[in-house]
């Protein structure tokens, strides 16, 4: 059974630090897309993992099955989970023309501080929201709320369903509250 390869792939890259659930964010997004009958390929930067070091993870999404098995070089969407990575040029490497940035930032970003090819810049104070609801400044799930509002890549509902395979009970509820707040609060830089 040979599948036809399709070209309409959306590549998302998440940036954070080891221990912040960057890979988990990429997988929750992928599982949400699977719930919507989309096809996905989600993976971390391959190799040894080091707590605190910058890490990236990827989710590739398409409405239909695709077979390409390559790493992601030119993401359409970049999600920055850790604010200390906002000022690093390598965070935005390969962003496609007209690409979308979804940033965890305490203050409104200035367009001129970001790569010119960024078509849209969205921002939310993810650390504050995470701290408020979860009691820790780990914004991986929070930024998924911001991401789906900014891009409509999957529905908020699907994210919350997919979240259920990673968190249960009280911690699930807290994450849901945080995700919903980020969904409401995220703003586009005009």
């Amino acid at each position: 059974m040979m599948q036809e390869a399709v070209p309409s792939l959306t590549d998302v890259r998440f940036h954070g630090r080891g221990g912040q659930g960057v890979v988990t964010a990429s997988k929750i997004l992928a599982e949400a897309a699977i719930l919507e009958k989309k096809w996905v390929h989600a993976f971390p930067t391959f190799g040894p993992e080091r707590s605190g070091a910058p890490v990236a993870a990827f989710t590739r999404i398409s409405p239909t099955k695709f077979t390409v098995k390559t790493e992601v070089y030119n993401p359409k969407i970049i999600v920055v989970i850790d604010p200390t990575l906002l000022s690093k040029p390598e965070t935005y490497e390969g962003l496609v023309e007209g690409g979308i940035l979804v940033l965890n930032s305490a203050t409104e970003p200035k367009k001129e501080d970001y790569p010119p090819q960024a078509g849209e810049i969205w921002w939310v104070n993810g650390n504050e929201i995470a701290n408020k609801h979860i009691g820790r400044t780990i914004a991986n799930t929070v930024m998924l709320g911001a991401l789906v509002k900014a891009t409509g890549l999957v529905s908020l509902d699907s994210i919350l369903k997919a979240l259920g395979s990673y968190f249960k009970g009280d911690i699930y509820d807290k994450n849901v509250a945080a995700i919903k707040e980020a969904y409401e609060e995220v703003k586009k830089v005009e």
Partner: protein, 398 residues
């Protein structure tokens, strides 16, 4: 068996997919020794075991040599046995791989394909599996997490056919398959059980109380050769059994697999031969080139042993050029590992493309990109134009 509708779909990495297949196979014995990138297979399976979801005897051993030795011992008692390893782990098992096949034990093993040391590297490469091609195992390579799941089930069925009675290994490439999440369609316990069936003891004899006997005996020049000939008969029988099992599996799942899978080979003048994860990338490139009118196709190779020589020679005869895209390495050989096999197959059947080139690509986990395949297509056309078969170290900095 009828097709199973509404198969549960779950986002799983390749390693997790293997563990989920094992959950519903519930093998009798699993000897385990960890090595990246296989680790998650056993981690996940251990969770199932700890939760009481499988009845398996999970044996923690002190090395891969011991893992395969334990597998041999357990299989000789008539148990259904699974293990998994990679890279240096396969290499350490090497001695016992021959004992498993020579003793005709239907052990199933996943290989999370990883480059061999030195220098040390944990990433994807097929050399670890390809160097076992003379060890007498039926050997498959898969492209994605779904195929890793499916091969786990298919493997037991093929290995345990009485007329095959050979161990079965199957590859899933390190990280790009083992650690990458994809949608995986799964089967329920009863369907898997009905498909694989009761364990059919391949030999007339197993270690059991009240059934005295011996195994692993001495066979001197008077008998050794006959026993090796019987092993080859088992491999020959596997050639007949494999398509039957794959068909049956297709009927249940809707996923029809073949030993070789041609894609856009109609009227092709040029073709890639691929195995494993890069096959998916090749499909996308072939499709794009076709839409531009380029006469190119590809054949994905699923079975490394037994080697599908007849099908390949039929598909590749009279082509202008063939490029074997080989994520493995051998040294001082006439061509890449897979191209050497292919050349023998073509000569045996006396059906040839004009040029048979090979490319050594993606060693140590280096990404094999769409651009690589586009470049390899141009290179193949150049080789044909110059009428030379070459081995290319593709993308290497010299």
């Amino acid at each position: 068996m009828a097709k199973v509708e509404n198969q549960e779909v779950k986002g799983l990495t390749g390693d997790q997919a293997v563990a989920y297949a094992l959950l519903n196979i519930d093998p009798d014995v699993v000897p385990a020794y960890p090595i990246t990138p296989q680790t998650i297979i056993m981690e996940k399976f251990s969770e199932f075991w700890a939760d009481g979801l499988v009845k398996t005897e999970l044996v923690h051993v002190e090395s891969e040599h011991s893992a395969m030795s334990a597998a041999v011992g357990a299989s000789a008692t008539g148990a259904r046995v699974f293990t998994a390893t990679a890279s240096q782990g396969v290499a350490l098992m090497y001695e016992i791989l021959f004992i498993a096949s020579g003793s005709r034990l239907p052990i199933v093993m996943a290989v999370a394909n990883r480059a061999l040391s030195a220098p040390i590297n944990i990433h994807g490469e097929l050399t670890d599996q390809l160097v076992t091609r003379d060890a007498g195992w039926v050997s498959f390579i898969g492209e994605d997490a779904q195929e890793a799941y499916d091969h786990t089930i298919i493997g037991f069925k093929i290995a345990e056919y009485p007329e095959v009675s050979l161990p079965f290994m199957y590859g899933l490439e390190g990280f790009i398959v083992t650690h990458a999440l994809e949608p995986v369609y799964m089967l329920d316990k009863k369907t898997i059980y009905d498909f694989i069936g009761e364990f059919r003891e391949p030999s007339n004899w197993v270690f059991a109380p009240g059934n005295p006997g011996a195994q692993g005996l001495l066979a001197l020049p008077d008998y050794y050769m006959e026993l090796k000939y019987q092993q080859e008969q088992g491999m020959k029988n596997a050639r007949k059994v494999i398509p039957k099992v794959l068909d049956e599996f297709g009927e249940i799942t809707g996923r029809y697999y073949h030993e070789v899978e041609p894609f856009h080979m109609e009227d092709a003048k040029y073709a890639f031969i691929t195995a494993g994860a890069s096959s998916g990338t090749a499909k996308a490139v072939v499709q794009r080139l076709r839409s531009k009118g380029e006469p190119v196709g590809m054949v994905k190779l699923r079975t490394i042993r037994p080697y599908p020589d007849e099908q390949l020679s039929e598909l590749l005869k009279d082509l202008d050029g063939v490029m074997v895209v080989d994520r493995s390495v051998t040294f001082g050989s006439p061509a890449s590992i897979q191209a050497t096999d292919l050349a023998s197959a073509l000569l045996k059947h006396r059906k040839f493309p004009r040029v048979l080139s090979s490319a050594i690509v993606g060693l140590g986990g280096r990404d094999i990109t769409e651009k690589d395949f586009e470049g390899l297509y141009e290179q193949l056309k150049k080789d044909v134009q110059e009428d030379v078969s070459r081995t290319h170290w593709w993308g290497v900095r010299i």
